[in-house]
């Protein structure tokens, strides 16, 4: 039995064959033991799967699950804050600066070259300093855009774990 024949058997089982082809398939199965055995196996698998999902329950209480759904709905429905209105001088600047391409290009160039701000450094710099016993280490997930700084000093509580350093798994 080649692959096309096997797929034809499957299509016959699934009711996907046109009437004429379905009749031919039925006749083939009736006279060919190998085809009959294959069809039987496919049928058993289908029967085994029937009703598989019945009885599956979401493992959270009605109230808890609903509270999460409701909260998320409300969060997404909260309107975003209105953008700040452009200051007057910005409006004036746009109005004043003429269609002169040279002046606009010059302004754009100057806007990119800015003096260092109060923190110094350049955009993209990462600097971290920590207490020596805080055991800080950093993990960066670039695809999700998340940075984790984990501090491994023990919890501040007499019920806390022992003196061993807390770890991530």
């Amino acid at each position: 039995m080649d692959h096309d024949e096997q797929l034809k058997l499957q299509a016959f089982l699934d009711g996907e064959l046109p009437e004429g082809e379905a009749r031919e398939a039925a006749e083939w199965v009736a006279r060919d033991r190998e085809a009959a055995a294959m069809l039987e196996e496919l049928r058993h698998t289908r029967e085994a799967l029937a009703g598989f999902e019945t009885g599956t329950q979401l493992p959270e209480s009605r109230e808890f699950f609903w509270s999460k759904v409701q909260r998320e709905i409300q969060r997404r429905e909260t309107p975003a804050p209105e953008p700040a209105r452009a200051p007057l001088f910005t409006v004036l600047r746009r109005f004043l600066v003429p269609a002169s391409a040279l002046a606009l290009v010059f302004a754009a160039t100057v806007m990119v070259i800015r003096p260092a701000g109060p923190l110094g450094g350049t955009a993209g710099t990462e600097i971290e300093t920590a207490l020596s016993d805080s055991g800080a280490f950093t993990y960066r997930d670039y695809s999700a855009g998340t940075t984790l700084v984990w501090l491994t000093y023990p919890a501040d509580n007499e019920d806390a774990e022992s003196d061993e350093i807390g770890t991530l798994e």
Partner: protein, 155 residues
């Protein structure tokens, strides 16, 4: 004549533009950087402790936490605060009686975040935080639980 007038007007506008630039007024004053700060509690229990009104963590935050190497199964929100930080200014974010986060805005998307515990600076981190990204500080808490402070930059 018309050409000369046109050139004069052009130079005049150019001079005005330069004057504005020289005055350092070209950049619009930086708008607030809008952040959300969450204090989260991590546990393997399915519910918060009795009497604690913690809420389930927001879905988008939860999904990002799933990708981090943190072993706790569930995260609950203890409190959250929306903050806006202006360039050069610092916003304090109280975490608990003994802990506070100071968030200072630098240039563009740059932030400096300082965690202060019991009056001491525990960790200071400076990095860019583009829109939609998160900075998470965390550590162990009693009874095999964990605390997280999540700073999320809003769209």
């Amino acid at each position: 004549m018309r050409a000369k007038l046109g050139r004069t007007i052009g130079v005049g506008w150019f001079a005005i533009a330069l004057a504005l630039l020289a005055g350092g007024q070209v950049n619009a004053p930086a708008a607030d950087m809008k952040l959300q700060a969450f204090l989260l509690w991590g546990t393997d229990d399915s519910k918060p402790p009795e009497g604690k009104d913690y809420k389930p963590v927001q879905l988008d935050v939860r999904q990002k936490l799933k990708d981090l190497p943190l072993k706790w199964t569930n995260w609950f929100e203890v409190r959250h605060k929306d903050i806006g930080v202006v360039q050069g200014a610092t916003s304090p974010v109280p975490i608990s009686e003994k802990c506070q986060l100071n968030v200072t805005r630098g240039i563009g998307p740059e932030l400096e975040v300082t965690l202060i515990g019991k009056g001491k600076e525990v960790v200071r981190r400076k990095q860019a935080l583009p829109k939609g990204e998160m900075l998470v500080l965390g550590g162990n808490a009693p009874n095999s639980t964990a605390w997280l402070v999540v700073l999320k930059r809003l769209e």
